[in-house]
Amino acid sequence: MLATIGVGSVQELFDRQIPAGVRLGRALDLPDGMGEQDVYAHLRELASRNVSAEDELSFLGAGMYDHYVPALIDMLMERSEFLTPYTPYQPEISQGGLQVMFEYQTAICELTGLPVANASVYEGPSAVAAAGYLAKLHNGRGRLVVSAGMHPHSIQTLRTLAHGYGMSVVEVPLIDGVTDLDAWTEAIDGDTSAAIFAQPNFYGAVEDAAALSAAAKSAAGEQGRAPVVVAQVDPIALGVLAAPGECGVDVAVGEGQPLGNRLDFGGPSFGFFAAREEYLRRMPGRIAGETVDVDGRRGFVLTLQTREQHIRREKATSNICTSQALNALAGVVYLAWLGRRGLVELGELLLARTHYAREALTALEGVEALHSQPVIRELAVRLDADVAAVKARCAQAGVNPGVDIHALTGREPDRGGLLVALTERRSRADIDRLATVLGAAVAAARREAVPA
């Protein structure tokens, strides 16, 4: 090969191209390589020092949930044909991936009740920030009004990215677990670009989405100054909850992990992004569309690419290059697996179990509901004890009772808050066990906290 190139050594290829002053000239300070069996053993050892949802009775949620992922999803995601190609730049040999995107977009439109969806973005919170940027491109205004019921990571991500694209973020407080409608209406003015809330919200409460949308649209006063109404929604809850499109929402985004994706310590997953028709040409990311080939056969292509960075460069609607194709595949396969009736049945099951769990937990001494709103898959309680101490005690019994709310929000009123998530994998017996263990842990922590 060297003779064909006409050089004496591989080293010469580098010596002739890289200035001596920036050549490393030593080996990287990294361990030596290992054989496959040894790397596997090392990664297995690391895995063994994690307590996963396989190892304890876990009620952790707050954005990512331990739903069952059907085996057929593992099989399909491991297929070379889905796993190893890149973005479908050559549609003639990428019809499989493009058709999956088209089916995925259709499913997301159905879930959200909105007419257009893209082929997915990175994940939930950055999808919220992307919606903020869409609003800026749409109306050029400078304020983003957000409900304090948004997931803290969504608000933090929005603040980081909005600082970049030059918008301010105004937070509207909650009353009894849901967005304060008066404060919401007051905060939205003619310079408000988007009004953003979560459904259900971070505290597990079901918001009055229709009222929030309607208030946002009338709050701006003069005609034509209504903000873009954005909702971050939980896709599983949409089996029973009114669709964003039915509630006057303009843009619906969310974390796709609950749809057939693993927990994976937080990623990769996907973010979904759906909107009313008028926002189509300002959408970020890839979009697949249907067309025909020269012989009239049905086929699919990436479309509306004149929005995108590789064509529009600094005038693009986003810098995003690809979608989360493999994760979105898991999402659409999961929805097909659940099916038309299954999604509704799952929603009803979670609704019933979450209600039952709230009744069971708030019956305990030292545990009260954090709010009185309807809950659908996750509930918030306040412990009359230190949450970390209670969690440590529960862990000894093999139970992870949920997420320490204050640790995530840093809000003073959230001290003692515990967010408890349900999935179809947590039965009534599991909830009863949680109640027993949590009750004992709270009691013990309160005894300990009493000064001797």
Binding site: P31, L46, A47, M64, G96, F265, G267, S323, W337, L346
Partner: protein
């Protein structure tokens, strides 16, 4: 079809197969979506019985919050789902099936060990809000990966948070802004980007609230130093550079460039898309860069998943570190208690930069939920441990060797047809891990556009190179073979290019102009798709 064989056309150009009477079996099989399959009542999922006492539905969830009509999802059985998706998967070309020399995308082999390791329940079913004390294996993996990436970049601090290369770029420019804002230099708003840069660079500049200033390329394919000097003023925030750049050229003036940029008070940003050329050979930090993003899915071989997921960690210099996104994974030494050494001696934790002056102490904030794409970290870490220091360097050396060998094969002086005359190298003599050819002469002399060549390659069983990028090369063809391809494959690809040119020279350009013939569908009407977009199925 055997790679490299001249494919038999299924019909003469202009007499293309129509619908059901001819064409390949896949071509005769009309695409149907999952929404067009199944029947009412069919299902795969069996929902657990409601095992808690019945409650009035209105009390559970008032009717005004309830959905009026259930989403019209498919009604299909498990066998139907499997057959549907396995069936359409076969309408994809993939890296495991053949050569995929897509420039700047680093389509190298994906070891299956990584998939197996990432699927271990201790990784795959670990919740991101698990207490750090109960996620020590994951945090240790992340900490070790941060260290390895820092060493490879030659920069001291790393954030694993960005979700992709484009997200890493955005992080980098927000860091640059924060750095200048901390020095009261908010007037620095210009970001210099070469005209060869990836489209994500200028798009990111806009999203970060900064302004794009384009830099010219010199005759050797590097940055035009005079143009750089002319623009390097007190308003410049940053220079974004890919090195080697998208022409496959390592900028010989990189030390001078770094000096000019730093003297102007700006930061230097390294787009890591082409890191696969220089791992263990040359480090961005040693070149003078302040911020580097990695594409774990490229250099550290993640499966590309049909377009995602990826992962785009960043490494930064000391002066940028205080602004890093948080949390960052740290190792804390445990204190001795009564002279007794603690067990373990150290613990891993998530640091939110709340204390001191260290990394993240003046953070720009969070870029996404949780800690980043951990599943990608497992794979990248497995790759780094498999290869080790020598293996990573060997990967880059072989990538550069393979690219130069393929380039040499395409420039053989006595070739028939004279490939190098139709497809000359755009810049330079040698290349790094990829090279860019110009299809300009081919278009003029053979009436074959780069697009036609690319489409004809599909019939030969190859994924075409990146086409029409970078923009400043006429009819560009950007080829990145990677280190995991054999010499036989490179030879077969070179021969395929030669035979397509020969075919055009002998039989005229029509054969390629109407290609492909053997793919599940043939050329698609993209104009119609964009004019009247149909982006979802109409459901009954």
């Amino acid at each position: 079809m055997t790679v490299g064989d001249t494919p038999t056309r299924t019909s003469a150009p202009g007499d293309a197969p129509t619908g059901s009477v001819s064409g390949t079996p896949q071509q005769r099989d009309r695409a149907r979506t999952i929404f067009e399959k199944g029947a009412p009542g069919r299902r795969a999922f069996v929902c657990p019985e409601i095992d808690v006492p019945a409650v009035d539905p209105e009390q559970l969830l008032p009717a005004r919050y309830r959905r009026a009509r259930a989403p019209r999802l498919p009604e299909v059985s498990e066998p139907e789902i499997v057959r549907h998706y396995v069936g359409i998967s076969k309408r994809n070309f993939d890296l495991d099936s053949g050569f995929y020399p897509l420039g700047s995308c680093t389509m190298k082999h994906n070891p299956r060990l990584h998939e197996r390791a990432a699927a271990l329940p201790g990784h795959a079913r670990l919740h991101p809000l698990q207490d750090p004390a109960r996620a020590q294996g994951a945090l240790e993996l992340m900490w070790r990966l941060q260290g390895a990436l820092a060493e490879i970049a030659g920069l001291p601090h790393v954030s694993l948070q960005p979700s992709a290369g484009s997200h890493g770029e955005l992080a980098g420019l927000l860091l640059t802004r924060a750095y200048h804002e901390s020095r009261d230099e908010t007037h620095r708003r210009k970001v210099l980007t070469p005209d060869t840069s990836h489209g994500t660079n200028p798009a990111t500049v806009t999203m970060a609230g900064l302004e794009v200033v384009k830099l010219a390329t010199d005759a050797h394919g590097g940055i035009d130093l005079d143009d750089l000097r002319a623009h390097a003023d007190a308003d410049v925030a940053c220079l974004m550079l890919t090195n080697p750049n998208t022409l496959g050229v390592f900028d010989p003036n990189i030390e001078t460039i770094a000096q000019i940029v730093h003297e102007a008070g700006a930061t230097l940003y390294y787009d890591g898309a082409n890191l696969n050329a220089v791992m263990g050979v040359s480090r961005p930090g040693d070149m003078g860069f302040d911020i580097v993003h990695f594409n774990l899915h490229k250099s550290f071989t993640q499966p590309h998943g049909g377009g995602g997921p990826g992962s785009g960690p960043i490494a930064v210099s000391e002066r940028i570190a205080p602004f890093l996104p948080t949390p960052i994974v740290v190792r804390r030494e445990q204190e001795q208690i009564n002279g007794v050494a603690p067990t373990p001696a150290s613990v891993f934790d998530l640091d939110f930069g709340a204390q001191g002056e260290g990394p993240g102490s003046r953070t720009i904030g969070r870029l996404r939920g949780f800690h980043g794409n951990y599943g990608c970290f497992v794979r990248a870490y497995a790759y780094i441990r498999s290869l080790g220091a020598d293996g990573l360097k060997d990967a880059s050396e072989t990538a550069v060797l393979n690219a130069n060998y393929l380039l040499a094969r395409l420039r053989e002086p006595d070739a028939h047809p004279p490939v190098a005359e139709y497809l000359p190298l755009a810049y330079g003599e040698l290349c790094m891990h990829e090279f860019v050819l110009s299809g300009g002469p081919m278009k003029r002399e053979l009436k074959l556009k780069t697009l036609d060549l690319a489409k004809r390659l599909l019939d030969f069983g190859f994924h075409p190179p990146t086409v029409y990028f970078p923009l400043l090369v006429e009819e560009a063809l950007m080829v990145e073979p990677t280190e995991t391809e054999t010499r036989e494959t490179l030879d077969a690809f070179a021969e395929a290019i030669a035979s397509i040119l020969r075919e055009a020279a002998t039989d005229g350009p029509e054969v390629a102009q109407n290609a492909p013939y053997t793919t599940p569908v043939r050329r698609l009407d993209e104009v119609a798709a964009a004019k009247r977009p149909v982006i979802r199925q109409e459901l009954a």
